[in-house]
Symmetry: C2
Subunit: 615 residues, 2 copies
């Protein structure tokens, strides 16, 4: 049955939603696809559901091809398994939780690793049962601090989440690869450019992980890529660590008055004036900057730490927080406040340093301050630094790492900058922004261990199962498609994802025009082509055209005055073309074109896989 | 792609789940369709999802035919609209509620009247926009005190809920009727016997309402029907109220000692001995029994009331609670406890009465006790009673309603019993049990008023919209289908609802047998017939047959030793027949039979409608 604008539950809006900044948010609202119900929580109107259904169908097909079977878990879950795995704590305030009438703890599931593990544990007991891959398309809940950009970051959203169970690492590798292929195929069919980038496991735990990034300026994720094909998110980029330098020839460390050096630039200038190096000039990269930060751990405790890094680098708080080097679970990292500094008088603002010799450390767990001190990996043993002497107006020169100071560990906290070398040597890094539309994890045995899931192996020995977890943000993908496919005046869907295949506009008065449009609708539907028919009586053609542009079905047929001459106007909005076509030809031509578009989208999956394998 | 038992995520179970009492609960668990995740909360395995998908597809088709458009609301909703409508209170402890990180109140939606109203209010403003019917198939949450019987009464379940919006009562009547037809059609297509019965609106508010009852002994709802076609749930049955009787000739009330009359039987015997009536014997129906009950209102307050009814009747607490006569919202009603009675010394256990004359009432809001007193509607003015005299060992005789005592109102609190007359005169009532699988409501203007939803009418005047609400329990329907269709050994689905159309069992060793089964599978699938192929290698035919019986696909093809003679065994489990069929004929015959079953199920909808209209 055709959708009819006269009865369709949609009212296009002239105004953008309050605070909307990105096109998908504005247009999905204005075109009547979604409607905000609460911050980060949306209601789906018929047009929105139609597109969502097409996206889900493609994801389902690719999951089936990858051998994954569909199941469906509750959204409301008992908290106990999440307490066992540690994620009840690790998710922190992002977790919606509640009690039932008997005062038992429940959560609204943010992701389902624990209960998938328990279900399979419940039913399977032997290596013969494995491998297994199961998935669901399900509503997830995360109480984001800053829900934003409509469907891009919501608090209630739809995810496809899959989980694999294998007896050994080789099995996990194969399961992971099958899912990776399914993702590349699915995003290709969905018309979304996408880049698999190396990532860090974060709160999920496990070994290898990749994010699938839709490159876009509206994204919150910064990632890097090199001309040679390296791609990673900034958390996962590893710095090229120089070799340690022998320091037997290095001059001894010594403290000097450094008046009027409030910035790194002035300090460097003063150093070049008073202590010229023989080999080259001092630069900001020779100074060791020590930044005081506050870590909030999942259990709510707040820890003051100091991060030391070359003075030509800025600290990237998000990157540092995402490395997993600050503690278990998801941590928050922020610059220390004035109160934090006041509580630590040993930290002399502007002159903080690790201490002037190994014997008198000022930073580090072993020092009197007990403050954890983490270093950028570039600060290898033997490197020689100018840094604060922990006294106002004084710096220490020729302080040598390993000889004069050590730290509690390293951390990749420095902002990755344009031109940094790719870790694999494939060239200088470029920075790009994007939206994470999927992430796949080799979880390994973390969840199976915490929930004690073992099966008997070939020798009859109980063996812990190894797992993978594979998320794909279905509603977020829809927002990204809207980002990728829109015009100035509205959405502009890929043909195979539009809420209807064809938009027919009755643009003119008179029974004849209306009847011709109805006849065309019936004929198209008989061929399996879906139609949105704008049959509204008292709406001007101008308004109808504007609505059609906003709603964004790429094929528009305008039945109007041309009918007297036996023609209708066919608009191919994706190609930006329009032409008059004889009425007799328009139905078969449209059927052919729509079918071709579907076939092309399906074929895109194969092309994406060969491209990836060639790369 | 065929489902294959060798890889399908299912493990049939020998044991019933702990505490399971009904067949659907036992069998859906044992056959691997669902798995309990928490009390009243289930996970869906692949076979379960397959059947659920077929049920949902039928419901969607019938909603579309009825002109209802699909939308989708969040499960997590802001509490504010429910506070405005009063249901934040009215739902009481059945409502799951929580706070987000900003301490705002949210609920897990038990039903969506409020937010549907707000959405339409947000988009529509004129009578020209109406009528509108929109629906969703969505997860609902109710924190039932006693989740039971698997999917029959869960805490997380799937409902189809639809809402209609009209400008006037005639519009609401038409919307309601369209939905009523859709329900009758849907249940007919789903193979479920179903009876629309009159019901009471309860906490929903509004005027007319009907429940759709699947008659079954496992149901929690008692309903009544008459030979003449009357059907109602017991809450909605109204007693036939006799005409008031003139009491000028009645003897005066008088109190007597009634020793040794601890029961109504002994009291009646004593009355016939000491005070014989001239016209007939006294019976239990001449005694007025006064039952002390405690009402718990939605706001938690507890009220002691007394219900007076003929001594041959028992109080039906559920019926009385469901009438809406005890107060606004959902109330709990229970027998008064010993503590309640101790707190009211004026209530003399075994001898409670309304008082011995109009001038000295003991019960009623106007009496010194202030205890609300409600009467069975049969206690009309002029009826003459033996009842307690509020003194130990004494009763009052010839106490006449209207002359000697009055009450604060009437209540339909008496148990409806077999043989009671149907209110419409269509004969004696029979009692039956059933499961409520749907309920439709003429809500009227209650929600639109509390949320201030008005549109401009034809005269440009702001007019409150009138609404209907229409629920259908999708997961509960699946349980009922399993109740209706099963054998001793397992589920036995209607052909068109089975998780696959055909179950092929490889029952024998050897490449030839396996290959023949594979070929048959491929040929059936080419015709659009779905197959579950039991291709397991190391499982005996006996186990395979048992699993096939448990899983319940009605058409089973056994490929085994007969193959050498060119035959396979075809089992039609619904008909209870099996026969050997030549291999060459089995595919076309099966295709024809399956297609016929689908066509027959679709045709059942039309038959149901004509039957209802003839009735």
């Amino acid at each position: 049955m055709a959708l009819r604008m006269s009865s369709l539950f949609v009212r296009t809006q002239k105004e953008d939603p309050v605070g909307a900044e990105v096109a998908s948010h504005k247009l999905l609202h204005r075109a009547g696809y979604i409607r905000r119900s609460a911050p980060g929580i949306y209601t789906w109107l018929p047009l929105g559901l139609a597109v969502l259904g097409k996206i889900e169908a493609i994801v389902r097909e690719e999951m089936a091809l990858a051998g994954s079977q569909e199941v469906h878990f509750p959204g409301l879950l008992p908290a106990d398994p999440y307490k066992k795995s540690g994620r009840w704590e690790a998710f922190g305030p992002d977790l919606f939780h509640l009690k039932d009438r008997r005062e038992n703890d429940y959560i609204l599931a943010p992701t389902h690793e624990e209960v998938f593990t328990l279900l399979v544990k419940d039913l399977y007991s032997s290596y013969k049962d494995l491998p297994l891959s199961i998935y669901q398309i399900q509503t997830k809940y995360r109480d984001e601090a800053r829900p934003r950009a409509g469907l891009l970051r919501g608090r209630e959203f739809i995810m496809k989440d899959a989980y694999s169970f294998d007896i050994d690492d080789a099995g996990l590798d194969a399961s992971y690869e099958a899912m990776r292929v399914a993702y590349l195929r699915a995003f290709a069919r969905l018309g979304l450019p996408c880049l698999p980038v190396k990532a860090t496991p974060g709160a999920m735990g496990g070994s290898g992980t990749e994010e699938f990034i839709y490159p876009s300026e509206v994204g919150e994720d910064t990632f890097v890529k090199s001309p040679g094909g390296y791609a990673a998110n900034v958390e996962a980029v590893t710095s090229i660590v120089p070799e340690a330098i022998p320091y037997s020839q290095s001059p001894a460390a010594h403290v000097e008055d450094t008046p009027d050096t409030p910035t790194i630039e002035t300090l460097v200038a003063a150093a070049n004036a008073s202590h010229p190096r023989s080999d080259r000039e001092w630069t900001a990269a020779d100074t060791l900057k020590n930044v005081v930060c506050a870590v909030t751990h999942p259990d709510g405790t707040r820890e003051i730490i100091v991060i030391g890094l070359p003075g030509d680098r800025e600290v990237d708080l998000d990157r540092a927080a995402g490395t997993g080097m600050l503690g278990d679970g998801e941590v928050d990292l922020e610059a220390a406040t004035a109160e934090d500094l006041a509580a630590h008088p040993e930290l002399v603002k502007g002159y903080i340093g690790p201490g002037n010799s190994l014997d008198a450390p000022v930073l580090g767990r072993e020092s009197p301050s007990k403050i954890r001190y983490l270093l950028d990996p570039r600060v290898v043993d033997g490197t020689r630094w100018i840094t604060g002497a922990n006294e106002p107006g004084r710096h220490v020169f020729d302080l040598v790492a390993g000889r004069d100071f050590t730290a509690d560990g390293t951390i990749e906290a420095a902002q990755v900058v344009l031109g940094d070398p790719a870790p694999d040597g494939s060239g200088p890094l470029e920075l790009a922004r994007g939206v994470e539309i999927g992430q796949i994890f080799k979880l390994g045995r973390k969840y199976a261990e915490s929930l004690d899931f073992k099966v008997l192996d070939q020798n009859g020995k109980a063996t812990t199962v190894t797992m993978g977890s594979y998320g794909l943000g279905v509603t977020r993908v829809m927002a990204c498609i809207a980002e990728e496919y829109h015009s100035e005046n509205g959405l502009l869907w890929p043909q195979h994802l539009a809420p209807a295949d064809v938009h027919i506009t009755v643009a003119g008065k008179g029974e004849e025009i209306a009847q011709a449009a109805e006849k065309m609708t019936t004929e198209l539907e008989a061929e399996g082509i879906s139609v949105l028919l704008d049959d509204r009586n008292k709406v001007s053609p101008g308004f109808k055209f504007a609505d059609a542009e906003l709603i964004g079905i790429p094929t528009v047929i305008v039945v109007g005055r041309g009918l007297a001459d036996g023609v209708v106007e066919v608009r191919d909005r994706l190609a930006g073309e329009k032409s008059d076509q004889p009425v007799a030809e328009v139905v078969p031509a449209t059927v052919a074109r729509v079918r071709e578009a579907y076939a092309k989208a399906a074929a895109a999956a194969d092309a994406a896989i060969s491209a990836d394998q060639n790369a």
